[in-house]
């Protein structure tokens, strides 16, 4: 236990060795006996502990209306997780919205095949087969036929 660690433990746990981490207790006590700074911090911490124990002591009791509480209806079962159903619906709608333009882009034949179409086809991430993507790229369009 270094003096820095000792001061840190005393600062957070107070001056009672029983509240310190067990692994550091003996070493910290030994250090406090020889290190003036740690010893002083320990004495200050004990004074503060006494004040805190007074402060945190018992409070005057109060009367609570327990009978009124027991007249309150209890939750009978776990509340239905409506947010999950709503979330699933929202996710489904979002998926449809996202997929719709993607699907129309795929199904609409482009007059000039793009590199994107080739990548999508080869990646297998869309519903078209590789053969369809290949055909789209290498089959000439009507305009291209005229040129040929």
């Amino acid at each position: 236990v270094t003096p820095e660690l000792a001061l840190q433990i005393i600062e957070s746990h107070g001056g009672d060795p029983l509240r310190w981490p067990e692994a550091d207790r003996a070493a910290l006590l030994a250090l406090a006996a020889v290190d003036a700074g740690v010893g002083k911090a320990l004495a200050e911490a004990r004074a503060l502990d006494a004040m805190l124990c007074d402060w945190a002591g018992d409070v005057a009791p109060a009367t609570f209306d327990l009978a009124a509480i027991t007249r309150t209806p209890q939750e009978r079962a776990a509340p239905p997780r409506r947010w999950m159903a709503g979330g699933a619906l929202a996710a489904a709608i979002a998926a449809v919205v996202v997929m719709t333009p993607m699907g129309s882009k795929v199904s609409t034949p482009s007059p000039v095949p793009s590199a994107t179409a080739t990548i999508e086809g080869s990646g297998g991430e869309v519903t078209r087969s590789d053969a369809e993507a290949f055909a789209e790229v290498f089959t000439p369009t009507a305009d291209e036929e005229d040129l040929i």
Partner: protein
């Protein structure tokens, strides 16, 4: 707790009587407001009754669960309130101590700590009362405050450091 969840009012009354004292102390010290603390405990006990079916013994004790409800209610309440610097009420409390000098010293000490406490954050006060009043471990406080034991160590360390400065500053020469 199983009986409470089944609607057993007598079981609830017994349980509530055992918990209300520690709940009131925790709320009172955290809020620094007696009337507010009583409101918090009444609401916490109501939740204990109405939500008893949600209690899961595998996740901890009833005491721990109740403590978490109280802490959350206190912190929510403080967030929704405008912060007011409370005046210490210690001056108005009549002392029954036999020695007037001792009583005066004790009263002075009480005033100093109350004034210093009023300047700490409610989270700091909650951690301090659980550590010094209830003797809870860092892990138990962390559970009640929904954080880590390491964070509680830091919270307590900073709270104690601030308190020392505040009390020293206010020490009459």
């Amino acid at each position: 707790m199983a009986r409470v969840a089944e609607g057993d009012a007598a079981a609830f009354t017994t349980l509530a009587r055992g918990l209300q004292g520690q709940g009131l102390r925790l709320a009172d010290r955290t809020l620094n407001d007696r009337a507010g603390a009583e409101d918090v405990v009444q609401v916490a006990l109501t939740r204990l009754w109405t939500m008893a079916g949600r209690f899961d013994p595998e996740r901890g004790s009833v005491e721990g669960w109740f403590r978490r409800i109280v802490v959350n209610l206190c912190l929510d309440r403080r967030r929704s309130m405008r912060l007011v610097q409370p005046l210490s009420e210690a001056d108005d409390v009549a002392s029954n101590a036999p020695d007037p000098f001792e009583a005066a010293a004790s009263n002075d000490r009480r005033v100093r700590i109350d004034t210093a406490m009023a300047q700490l954050a409610p989270r700091q006060r909650a951690a301090l009362v659980m550590f010094h009043g209830d003797g809870l471990s860092m892990a138990e406080i962390a559970k009640a405050m929904e954080t880590t034991p390491k964070a509680i160590e830091g919270l307590l360390g900073r709270a104690r450091m601030e308190l020392r400065k505040l009390i020293d500053m206010e020490t009459p020469e």
